[in-house]
Symmetry: C2
Subunit: 151 residues, 2 copies
């Protein structure tokens, strides 16, 4: 997967990925598994419920927020697909990333949006979360976190 | 931040916070929220780690398994996208459903596949799980379950 990321970086910007191996910081393995505080795992998966949120039937706002979340996390977008349901105006969709994915499902009539953000390697899913909170101004946020692929 | 902390506590004790109303069987609302054993929520989200699994670089096998999983769960496929990484052969992708989604990310070199299956309404995500287990013959399976959108 390091080769995976290097290849993608090469496509995106023609720049080789600098190998950073600071002694005290998270370390990334050849296949993007990371070691943090002694635990080696594939990545972090945030399960995010937004309540009393706005803009949940606005596909352009959701598209923009997901792209901004990917950028903020330092991740690479490969594919995005959003689907609007009628007549509710609810939206379902996903961004497939080089580092995993972000999904969204909204219930505008409930003010409820279900996101998940799964990112492996050195991408920073919490920065994506901050973008989503900013974009939809929820009154209440519930977040669960899974470490995926713990060795 | 205080609000956030409160919300994080709520996820651990979600059952206790939920409004309980007598209900004999699962009931589906107009917006697909369901009521089961007195708990009203949007759907179930399974976080599935397969280890010592086979066929994780075989895009046709993964495509077939995801479609079969959707069918077994009684769900409706809207869109499927799978991406192969070179040279690792790892595959990432997602099936967007009328009832939410299934995602997959594989590390063939680790024998590891990270799936998640989120289904709302009366779809049955555990039946999707059974199909995935059958398709990739994992030596070990780790499953976490979130009830999403608990009212």
């Amino acid at each position: 997967m390091a080769q995976r990321k290097q290849a993608l970086k090469a496509i995106a910007g023609g720049q080789a990925l600098a190998r950073r191996v600071p002694a005290a910081a998270p370390q990334e393995q050849a296949d993007h598994f990371i070691t943090r505080e002694g635990l080696t795992f594939a990545g972090s998966h945030l399960i995010i419920d937004l309540w009393e949120a706005e803009g949940l039937d606005d596909i352009d706002r959701i598209d923009r927020a997901m792209r901004d979340a990917v950028d903020a996390a330092g991740a690479t977008l490969l594919h995005i697909h959003l689907h609007t349901f009628t007549p509710s105006g609810g939206i379902s969709g996903v961004a497939v990333l080089a580092e995993s994915h972000i999904s969204v499902h909204t219930w505008p009539e409930r003010g409820y949006a279900a996101f998940d953000v799964f990112m492996c390697g050195n991408a920073e899913p919490r920065k994506a979360l901050a973008v989503l909170e900013s974009a939809f101004a929820p009154g209440r946020v519930v977040v669960g976190i899974h470490k995926r692929g713990v060795l």
